[in-house]
């Protein structure tokens, strides 16, 4: 018997998720990502370790954090309380978080044993059953915690819970191979097809990503949906979509989700004390997105805007 109860580093669990896979789902966000996409909506997922954030509107000004921090990393002059140059989180006692009664300083990322996560997941089992739903593992990049992921998926399979994984594809092939029997559906991101551009905007080339995708198909894993974030001036052009359609046709992949970029993450960057480079880029026009959709449909693909 497998007695292991591995821990995952989780930064959010959302119940009643209705945009990330079939039916009603629970979304589990794993921390850590090899990519640094400039448009990333979950910057709190990047690091493999815990982060802290500051929520100004929750602060009641009790100043308990000021005396609690043993690294002198709290400042009360600026809008943000955390001096990121001095802060050593998570390599400290996390006393600022512990002493913040108002939860204005919060820890992002919690080590959770598989059983604990499963208990939360199972609370909505009847909703999955009645709607054809299940869990979706997102991130971050789920493959960044490969052992946990493999074990967790195995346990979900044992419980007959439908599992979707959202991946950027940038992971060792071995990891894919190991989990495939326990995954029902892969949401596979393709951001750019030009490798140099890919490196410029995400920090890595797309070689591994494309090679993994081909291997998946070669291994007859067909339950793949391609997901594309559309970001204006980066990939919102017909050239990209026409190449992507070609690739999908070659690989006999049928479904694609287009996720229009939005600015909702701006505040997150602020709270993490991070710089948000895409602050002022325009949003891609709806009309243009419709054009891409029609084009992809004309190539025989199933297209959804905003996932599903």
């Amino acid at each position: 018997m497998n007695e292991k109860n591995l821990e995952g580093l989780i930064f959010d669990i959302q119940r009643y998720a209705v945009h990330d896979g079939p039916g009603i789902r629970t979304l589990i966000f794993l921390k850590g990502c090899p990519l640094r996409c400039k448009w990333c909506q979950n910057p709190e997922s990047w690091k493999k370790t815990e982060d802290i954030i500051f929520l100004e509107e929750k602060c009641i000004g009790c100043k308990k954090c000021l005396t609690a921090c043993e690294h002198d990393a709290i400042q009360f002059k600026k809008a943000s309380r955390i001096n990121r140059e001095k802060c050593v989180v998570p390599n400290c006692s996390l006393s600022c978080v512990k002493n913040c009664v108002a939860q204005a300083i919060q820890l992002i990322g919690k080590k959770m044993p598989i059983n604990e996560i499963l208990n939360i997941v199972k609370k909505d089992a009847l909703y999955y059953e009645n709607s054809g739903g299940g869990i979706t593992i997102s991130g971050g990049e789920p493959f960044y915690q490969p052992e946990f992921l493999a074990d967790f998926l195995k346990k979900c399979k044992d419980e007959k819970i439908h599992a979707v994984i959202e991946t950027c594809g940038h992971a060792k092939w071995d990891y894919f191979e190991k989990i495939l029997p326990n995954v029902d559906l892969l949401y596979y991101d393709i951001k750019l097809l030009n490798s140099d551009e890919h490196e410029k905007y995400t920090g890595v080339t797309n070689d591994v990503i494309l090679s993994n995708l081909k291997k998946l198909v070669k291994n007859k894993f067909k339950n793949i949906v391609i997901r594309v974030p559309i970001v204006s001036n980066i990939n919102d052009n017909m050239n990209f979509f026409s190449k992507l359609a070609e690739l999908m046709k070659k690989l006999a992949l049928l479904e694609i989700h287009i996720l229009p970029y939005h600015r909702l993450a701006e505040k997150k960057y602020e709270r993490l004390g991070m710089n948000y480079e895409l602050k002022n880029i325009p949003l891609t026009e709806k009309k243009k997105i419709q054009e891409f959709k029609l084009f992809l449909e004309s190539k025989g693909l199933i297209v959804k805007i905003g996932g599903g």
Binding site: I24, I60, C62, Y127
Partner: protein, 793 residues
């Protein structure tokens, strides 16, 4: 001219215009009812009060101005003004006196009237009824024993709903009117009258009141027939002339006989609603299962080719608009707590039939389509759902909700069992319909006064903490607990003692009021439509119906459960704070310092470190289960003076706001004077795990015990209500011993704008956008604008 080219009348456009007129028309006070009542009461001084009431109704129905408004097909007016509302001085005159100078100048819900009308109110109406000891309010006050009166004035409980303009909160026995016809009801009463000897004065008086009133109703409807006939003669437009002749024929027939067509049936239902609303000025004069009542007429007319689905939908839309024209004014003092001017005429579609089969029909679909199209504020629209409800019907309901319709869904599988436990036969239980907001009763066998009482449980907990002293007024009036509170179990016992104590006084107060009502303001017409009243010779207000209840609502469920959880964990388990310190802190509304921390810091700890109801956490949900069970079982022990029992419900209307104003701070972090929690819902902003977690928490409660119904409102952004996932959401909540009722607040642009202005009120608002979810209020202004802009599409 080629005839075929004349377009068919555009029904949909037509009803939209009618709706617009109704919505934009200012509200007015109509004094005709009060005038005829006053004149009549002057004439009948000294006679039996029941007969006086019936004669006043007779004078009113015989003499009031009747109107057929432009282009309307369903006719009947309760007021002489287009959007007018009558006055009910026989119930109480004090509120008319308090308000009459400010009707047209108050800030919200303005009511217009002419100077002559105001003069009449001041010079005739008020002096007469003030000297008349026979208003319900005056008699109630005179009957109240000093100790009961003293306790009532503490406002821990309320009995005022029955005293607004009348009792309200009933279903009219439309099917009995269809079965007997008005003439048949008169004959039934006449026949029964012969069976009672002269000594049975009370019964004879009742039956005489029925005969007087039903005869007046017959004549009233005939007046409409004559009016329509007269107007037809002068009508130049040929189409309208034909319509008026048809109206005249319809009214002539249904004034006495059984309805023979869909048009006659729906017109008769409207008259029933109107008459009951003249007889009693209370809220929630409910319709019940309209799709069931009308289905035989629909089938017959359809098979004879007399009517098309399009015409049926048109008539139903006209009916909804006419329902919207029946509304009640709210007294100035009550604006915060009242249900608002709409009457809460609850209309139900779908559900089971008497035999347990699915009763959803094509007519249910048409009624839903009509409501989706019009979205009028009336009727209050209810859909009954059970295991066998067709999927396409639930999908259509979901689409309607997503389009912005305000629809409540009811779970037959729970309520039928619950009503059986209450004493209904299985067949009767299957025929239930909600009254007002959510309160189930039988359409023609019940008198439920379903929103009679409200009990502030948060105040009961407050008094338990102080051993009987009101933290707000510092007055000592609660029941004493002779032990020191040293454990959670002690606190629970002290709380239960307070709860039982105030329930006892609530029941005594209610009995006194119900006695006054039964003596002075009977409901002969409603009684005639209700099974067994004529047979027993008893008015509904005296217990004539088969099923008799008094609704008693629990207020503040989540506030109490969350507060108890905080005290349990912080004071008795983790021992972070002495009990006395907690009490002091609440008395001081979180000011001061305790154990080295400020009250404001403790408040944050209470909010953030203890589980809250609505998050699917057993620690606190189990307390909510206990609170509900203790309340319901206690309420069910009490009998009312109509031979029935008190019936527990968990719905707030808006009493959670009113009660909040004089309730001190609570241990869940609620500040003094803030609102209490609403119905079955979590404390505002405290449900952090989405709708399935809320539903799971709610499902843990014993819904079979909450037999007067419960109300749960879920707020959704339109993006999060996915139609093909909607049936699964509903079925999972309803099945497996699920909840009784759920309704949705689909958050549109206005709410989002409101949430921007008052973020504290909308902390729980989740906006989900393709793989990414956020709490709306935690977003930057720019991001919020982004979402608001998307909401348009």
């Amino acid at each position: 001219m080629v005839l075929e080219q004349i377009p068919q009348p555009n029904y949909k456009k037509c009803t939209q215009l009618m709706k617009k007129k109704v919505i934009n028309h200012p509200h007015e006070i109509c004094i005709e009812r009060a005038k005829f009542f006053t004149e009549s009461y002057k004439k009948t001084k000294g006679e039996n009060p029941i007969i006086r009431f019936a004669k006043a109704m007779e004078d009113l129905l015989t003499n009031m101005t009747i109107v057929i408004w432009d282009n309307e097909f369903i006719v009947g007016n309760r007021s002489t003004k287009y959007m007018g509302t009558p006055l009910y001085p026989e119930v109480r005159i004090d509120t008319i006196e308090q308000d009459c100078d400010s009707y047209d100048s108050r800030e919200v819900q303005k009511l217009f009237l002419s100077n002559e009308e105001r003069d009449y109110i001041k010079k005739e109406l008020i002096p007469y009824w003030k000297n008349e000891d026979q208003t319900v309010q005056a008699r109630f006050q005179s009957y109240l024993k000093p100790d009961i009166k003293n306790m009532m004035e503490k406002l821990v409980f309320l009995v005022d709903v029955e005293l607004v303009n009348g009792v309200g909160h009933f279903l009219i026995g439309h099917e009995n009117v269809f079965k007997y016809g008005i003439k048949g009801l008169i004959q039934k009463a006449e026949k029964r009258l012969k069976n009672f000897s002269l000594e049975d004065t009370e019964k004879r008086v009742f039956l005489q009141s029925v005969i007087i009133l039903c005869t007046a109703v017959k004549n009233f409807i005939q007046r409409f027939s004559l009016l329509a006939e007269g107007e037809a003669k002068n009508e130049p437009n040929i189409d309208r002339k034909k319509e008026l002749i048809e109206i005249s024929e319809i009214c002539r027939n249904i004034s006495e006989n059984l309805p023979t067509s869909f048009k006659e049936a729906i017109q008769l239902i409207y008259f029933n609603q109107l008459i009951c609303g003249l007889e009693d000025g209370g809220f929630a004069v409910s319709i019940g299962r309209l799709d069931q009542y009308l289905y035989p007429y629909y089938l017959k007319d359809k098979s004879e080719g007399k009517i098309s689905d399009e015409e049926v939908q048109f008539l139903i839309e006209c009916f909804y608009i006419k329902l919207t024209m029946l509304w009640n004014y709210v007294i100035s003092k009550g604006i915060i707590a009242a249900e608002g001017p709409p009457l809460s005429e609850n209309l139900t579609i779908g559900g089971l039939d008497r035999k347990g089969n699915d009763a959803t029909t094509e007519l249910s679909h048409i009624m839903l389509d009509a409501y989706t199209h019009l979205k009028t504020v009336q009727p209050t629209f209810s859909v009954r759902i059970h295991e066998k409800t067709p999927e396409d019907f639930i999908v259509k309901v979901g689409e309607s909700i997503k389009s912005g319709s305000s629809i409540a869904l009811f779970n037959d599988d729970i309520m039928v069992k619950s009503l059986e436990d209450l004493g209904f036969t299985l067949e009767d239980a299957r025929e239930y319909a909600p009254i007002g907001c959510v309160e189930p009763q039988h359409p023609y066998k019940s008198y439920g006064s379903t929103n009679a009482n409200q009990l502030n449980l948060v105040k009961c907990l407050e008094l338990a903490l102080t051993n009987g002293i009101d933290m707000f007024t510092r007055v000592d009036y609660g029941v004493k607990y002779d032990k020191e509170i040293a454990s959670y179990e002690d606190l629970w016992e002290a709380y239960i003692n307070q709860m039982k104590y105030f329930i006892k006084y609530m029941v005594l107060t209610m009995d006194t009021l119900d006695t006054a009502i039964a003596e002075l303001t009977p409901q002969p017409f409603l009684s005639a439509t209700t099974d067994n009243c004529i047979e027993n010779g008893l008015d509904v207000t005296k217990g004539g119906a088969i099923y008799n209840f008094t609704g008693a609502q629990l207020l503040g469920l989540a506030t109490v459960a969350d507060s108890l959880a905080v005290i349990k964990q912080m004071v008795f388990e983790e021992k972070l704070l002495p009990f006395e310190d907690l009490v002091q802190m609440l008395m001081k509304n979180f000011r001061g310092s305790y154990q080295g921390k400020k009250g404001s810091e403790w408040r944050q700890i209470f909010i953030n470190n203890v589980p809250k109801y609505g998050n699917d956490d057993d620690y606190v949900d189990s307390i909510a289960v206990d609170v509900v069970k203790a309340y319901c079982t206690e309420i069910l022990k009490h009998k009312n003076n109509r031979g029935g029992q008190f019936n527990p419900g968990i719905l707030s209307t808006t009493f959670h706001l009113a009660f909040g104003v004089f309730t001190a701070a609570s241990a869940n972090g609620r500040k003094s004077r803030d609102t209490l929690s609403n119905g079955l819902g979590p404390t505002n902003g405290m449900d952090k795990n989405g709708p399935t977690a809320v539903l799971n928490s709610v499902k843990k409660l014993d819904h079979l015990l909450i037999s007067n119904g419960s109300s749960l409102i879920l707020a959704f952004h339109p993006n999060s209500l996915i139609i093909d996932k909607f049936p699964a959401l509903i079925r999972t909540f309803f099945n497996y011993n699920g909840g009784f009722q759920v309704q949705f607040n689909i958050v549109g642009k206005e709410i989002l704008l409101e949430a921007q202005k008052n973020p504290d009120e909308y902390r729980d608002l989740v906006v989900r956008v393709a793989g990414y979810s956020v709490l709306f209020t935690e977003l930057s202004k720019v991001a919020q604008e982004d979402i608001i802009n998307r909401t348009e599409c």
